[in-house]
């Protein structure tokens, strides 16, 4: 289930990324927030009560959408999902666990 519904610009090219280790896809030009919320109903859980959150202001003010992101085998970064554009093969975590390093798939 998704939280956000696409109404426009659906012809943008598809981009693969990884959510909690699982390959999923979004569209070029998506923010991390859009990418996650068009395939899931939540972005993260809160630190103190574990309640689900999915961003709020979408313009970098509420700071409710920080997520852990890894590019390749690089270090884990914490990025604001509403103001970071998705890049292909990013690995994102919606839990407190760091996003896994995604192993290169052998070419068929």
């Amino acid at each position: 289930m998704s939280l956000l519904i696409r109404y426009a610009e659906q012809s943008r090219p598809s981009v693969r990324f990884f959510l909690d280790g699982q390959a999923v896809s979004a569209l070029a030009g998506d923010t991390l927030l859009t990418a996650v919320l068009t395939v899931r109903e939540r972005l993260r859980t809160t630190e103190f009560t574990g309640s689900p959150r999915a961003g709020f202001c979408m313009m970098g003010a509420c700071q409710d959408c920080w997520v852990q992101v890894r590019r390749g085998d690089g270090p884990v970064q914490r990025l604001r999902a509403c103001s970071t554009l998705l890049e292909a093969d990013m690995s994102l975590s919606t839990t407190s666990a760091p996003p896994p390093v995604i192993a290169e798939e052998p070419k068929p």
Binding site: I5, Y7, A8, T31, S51, P52, F56, C62
Partner: protein, 461 residues
């Protein structure tokens, strides 16, 4: 003219900042324009990321397409003169210099003259259920549609007050969403009462009336004078409970809810720079002092657009140009007095209009503070409840929001009170039975938005 050796700096590339930068460039200066977003336009004229499939301006901005396009294209003719730096967060102001974060690097930029055009975000009053997935700010709901082509749901409710409520409902309905209800806390009668002031800008009023009429024509239920009760759902919003103007409880099913009560300016940087502030009773907010040209209390520091007080996008363009002319004049340049007169006359009309608008769509602060229950989360970041606030008041009698913050953690989280500040102020004042201007304002702290520990310093003058 005796030009300052450092280029003027403009913070924010929305309508105010762009008009300011262009005005400076047109008068021969080479301003630096700093903006957090990747593309110019601010939140109001926010652009989707470039790429195939992008909608046209008229699809994106409707009636405002021409203005939006003009703003987007305004920098291009001055590309060699305006040092436009997108993706740049200003995270600190200190002793005549700014600290910038861009691409993981931090740099210090000294200034002699500075225009704050930092914009605004939604003002929110919390309601039970407001932290659930599927609940967004009104502005957030609009940004999703504008910048990402996404809606916050397929059956949506918009709740709060202000003209944005109607505009967004219209935009969502046009996009193909089912707008289950528009729920306005302001009574319809207030709009009639303040009609004379709203007539200060007949064209803007006409647009507002058009959206309202359109919603009615397309069968979108609009209710005024409502009281929000709660959002319900199992880990995502599924319905809104509200009271109609007759006091009857109503239930509206939805899978997306937008809430907002007008806008609140982003004043942290002006505050940190040391600008004097005064309480504005109409906005129920502390705003940086400025003269009619946008001069702050500090020499060389100017204010424009919604970041200095909410007057809207059209006024922001005027204010940006006016502040730039003031800067030029203060640096000894010759400016066109007739242009100044035109701008100030237009600004006066905006101010009359916005005054009426704020009276027609007031923040329902008193009713909210009287009814807020102890278990309501006020501070999303730290998950601090109204009960926590009240317990702190009983224990320590904080007479100031900063003391309340120190003891309760309200406003101490990542957003530094941007989302909970209005609510905390209203509730603290209510608990003390004092006016909301008697409890000071939350002091901004460096960095005004989170920055990574692993930043790389870069020494650029």
């Amino acid at each position: 003219m005796s030009q300052s050796p450092l280029p003027p700096v403009v913070i924010g590339a929305g309508p105010a900042g762009i008009r300011a930068a262009v005005t400076l460039a047109r008068h021969g200066l080479s301003p630096i324009l700093l903006d957090e977003s990747p593309r110019p336009g601010g939140q109001i004229y926010r652009q989707p990321p470039a790429g195939p499939g992008q909608r046209s301006a008229s699809e994106l901005y409707g009636f405002e397409a021409a203005k939006a396009t003009a703003i987007h294209q305004a920098l291009a003719p001055y590309a060699d003169r305006i040092d436009y730096r997108p993706d740049t967060l200003v995270w600190n102001v200190e002793r005549g210099a700014l600290d910038l974060l861009s691409n993981g690097r931090t740099a210090t930029l000294a200034y002699h003259s500075l225009i704050f055009a930092t914009g605004a975000t939604d003002r929110v009053l919390p309601m039970p259920g407001w932290t659930m997935p599927g609940v967004f700010t009104l502005g957030g709901a609009q940004i999703a549609l504008k910048a990402q082509g996404c809606g916050i749901g397929s059956t949506v409710v918009f709740l709060g007050t202000g003209p944005l409520l109607y505009l967004i409902a219209y935009q969502y309905a046009k996009a193909g969403a089912t707008v289950a209800a528009v729920l306005d806390t302001s009574a319809f009668g207030l709009r009639i009462k303040h009609l004379p002031g709203l007539l200060a800008l007949p064209k803007v009023l006409a647009k507002g009336l058009y959206y309202t009429a359109w919603l009615k024509a397309y069968g979108v239920p609009v209710y005024t004078g409502i009281t929000p009760v709660r959002a319900e759902g199992n880990e995502r919003v599924a319905s809104v409970i509200w009271q109609d103007s007759a006091g009857r409880q109503q239930h509206t099913a939805c899978d997306g809810l937008g809430i907002g009560y007008g806008l609140r300016p982003e004043t942290q940087l002006a505050d940190m720079a040391g600008c004097a502030f005064s309480f504005n009773p109409l906005d129920r907010a502390w705003l940086p002092d400025r003269d009619s040209a946008g001069r702050s209390s500090l020499a060389g520091v100017y204010l424009a657009g919604d970041g200095a007080g909410i007057t809207g996008a059209d006024a922001a363009e005027v204010g940006g140009e006016r502040a730039a002319l003031a800067l030029l004049q203060d640096q000894g340049a010759t400016i066109d007095p007739s242009r100044v007169a035109v701008l100030e006359k237009r600004m006066a009309a905006f101010v009359r209009f916005r005054t009426a608008l704020l009276q027609a769509f007031p923040l329902p602060a008193a009713r909210w503070a009287e009814t807020v229950s102890d278990d309501l989360v006020l501070c999303r970041c730290e998950e601090i409840t109204a009960g926590d606030l009240r317990a702190t008041v009983r224990k320590d009698q904080p007479r100031d929001l900063n003391r309340l913050k120190a003891l309760s953690r309200i406003g101490m989280g990542r957003c530094q009170g941007r989302m909970c500040g209005a609510a905390a102020a209203e509730l603290l004042a209510h608990q003390h039975g004092c006016a909301v201007n008697d409890i000071a304002r939350i002091r901004p702290q460096t960095p005004i938005k989170p920055i990574p520990i692993g930043v790389t310093p870069e020494n650029t003058p």
